[in-house]
Point group: C2
Chain length 345, copies 2
């Protein structure tokens, strides 16, 4: 390993003291004459500065920690793009820890990141518990949670309940009465509870005889696919997946059973994944803007790091994506032609 060039080498070459170089690098409080010499020396030696030595002094390392439940997920990917979009230009870098959908590990990861002295942490949580609130008290590192919400913690999440209501209201308007909500465990408050609750509220309100049955499927295609028979046995006019992936798994089951969508049964999901636009029939869904969420979370964290008062009560937009997979029962039956392919944004 060749010796790295240090601030000392630069000082020697520029004929100044180490501190002057340091000042040049930071405050910039240096005579223009010496500044020039230093600048030249820095370039000539290709000096880069030692991250670790710097951190040891300043307690400010331009490093943030990211705790994510998994990496192979569309929403996490978008979130990361958003976070990166605001941190990268500011010279921050991220350490990423994966908690594998495990709450215990999530807590350990937060702790570990704090101990390393990152400037702040963003946690894309799978479920906020009392332990999270406790940890929050114990550590001083700025902390922002996304995806879930809990009083006392700085959180940024989609309004899942509103999304549920939006979907419920739409399907009610379309004349549906018997719905099956294919979802996940209520341990996941946002996806498992709020979306469902919002949906049920809006769908059954002022909709006499309306029923919503619940079937738990898990998060992936296969889990949903495997519950296809159970769902169909409930004889719904519409099946709502708590996520687009769930809806896609159901769609596959219906295809195999030769049950026509939306003619015989309607299907809808949540998430607004792009792939929902290419399948046939294209999936009606509620889109969230995970990239925006990432950007906002990053800004929030940045404000906290710099001790600025941050506008925490911020709201995230949701979009309704009306596509092909839902039939309007109030209109005379007319088989739809596939619509033009549409994407988000």
């Amino acid at each position: 390993m060749e010796r790295k060039t240090t601030i000392k080498d630069v000082a020697q070459l520029a004929q100044v003291s180490k501190s002057t170089v340091s000042r040049y690098l930071n405050d910039g409080y240096v005579s223009s004459e010496k500044a020039e010499r230093i600048k030249k020396a820095v370039k000539e030696l290709d000096f880069k500065g030692n991250f670790f030595a710097k951190r040891l002094k300043t307690k400010h390392c331009q490093l943030i920690g990211l705790v994510l439940p998994r990496m192979d997920s569309v929403s996490v990917g978008k979130l990361l793009m958003g976070i990166n979009a605001v941190f990268e230009p500011k010279g921050y870098q991220a350490i990423i820890l994966v908690s594998q959908l495990n709450g215990e590990k999530e807590l350990n990861n937060i702790l570990s990141l704090h101990q390393q002295g990152v400037d702040g942490i963003i946690v894309n949580s799978v479920g906020l518990t009392a332990a999270h609130a406790r940890l929050r008290q114990e550590i001083s590192t700025p902390l922002v949670f996304t995806g879930q919400k809990r009083p006392g913690l700085i959180c940024l999440k989609n309004d899942d309940e509103a999304a549920g209501r939006m979907m419920g209201a739409y399907l009610k308007e379309c004349g549906h009465r018997r719905a099956v909500f294919a979802g996940v465990t209520e341990t996941d408050s946002a996806v498992g509870l709020e979306r469902k609750r919002g949906f049920i509220d809006a769908f059954t309100a002022d909709n006499p005889g309306a029923t919503v049955n619940f079937v738990e499927t898990g998060f992936d295609f296969l889990g949903a696919y495997n519950k296809g028979a159970e769902i169909c046995a409930l004889n719904p006019t519409v099946i709502v997946g708590a996520t687009d992936n769930i809806a896609l798994g159901v769609l596959r089951y219906l295809h195999e059973q030769n049950i026509k969508v939306p003619d015989e049964v309607s299907v809808a999901g949540f998430g607004g994944y792009e792939v929902g636009a290419v399948v046939y029939p294209a999936l009606t869904s509620i889109a969230f803007d995970y990239e925006l969420m990432g950007m906002k979370a990053a800004h929030l964290l940045l404000d906290m790091i710099h001790d600025q008062n941050s506008l925490t009560g911020d709201t995230l937009p949701i979009f309704f994506l009306e596509r092909e997979s839902v039939l309007d029962l109030t209109k005379p039956f007319a088989p739809k032609q596939p619509e033009k392919f549409t994407t988000l944004t």
Copy 2:
């Protein structure tokens, strides 16, 4: 910010010197009596050790750098899961830099990571250039590239050409003669060049009258969808997308044009994304194991970091996924029933 407990605090509490504590933490070359006292003190003070101070000394920070073209991609996600699976248990953490499909930025990111003193770097490249080879010479940090290959660099990539050949041979066997290869620019050697070349070689070999036309689409659904008309004008019996996403975009176009797949035209892709199994018809594809690639890359890097001789010439498996979207022209026509949903692994 509360003061962090340091090795000094531990030493005081345990009534020993700082160096003894340090030794206990590392070599462990300490009398069992004092070790006991230190152990107790460490626990009592919840001592964690300062990452940065440690790094400043040891030049070994348990940190690796990851340079990725983007985050919102299935293959990158899988790759990360694989990398994480081997580094996490070893106590390594990762700094992730996103190069946004930009070769220039990719180089800068590598350099930046090296300057920070990470122990090693994995680069999921979008295209290896002479500049990469040059950089490789200039820096001492162990470097592993994935996704692309170039002599003189340690690389780990799928055998894209073999995948292309596998697909070409299969479609030839199925009696196809007129193919359109919907792909990307040859700047991307792996996807743009090798897959195509392998395909053309195998498809046209010993297949009199066979033709392959090329249409450039870009990487996403929409780009492929938009080239649908151009592709169809070539009157192919089979359309091969250089990636599953391209194939999916084409599939959507065909649906909208009411062209039946595979009865009127066959479609196939590369990648083996799970979503290919849920669309209808399920997409015939060649699957790569990105997670395994990540694990192997990580092991390779680990070996390099520890100066072990690493088996670089390792090969990655590819799997043929025969699903519904390709028609065997050599068999009597019989409309297929949808097959049971199948996933990878």
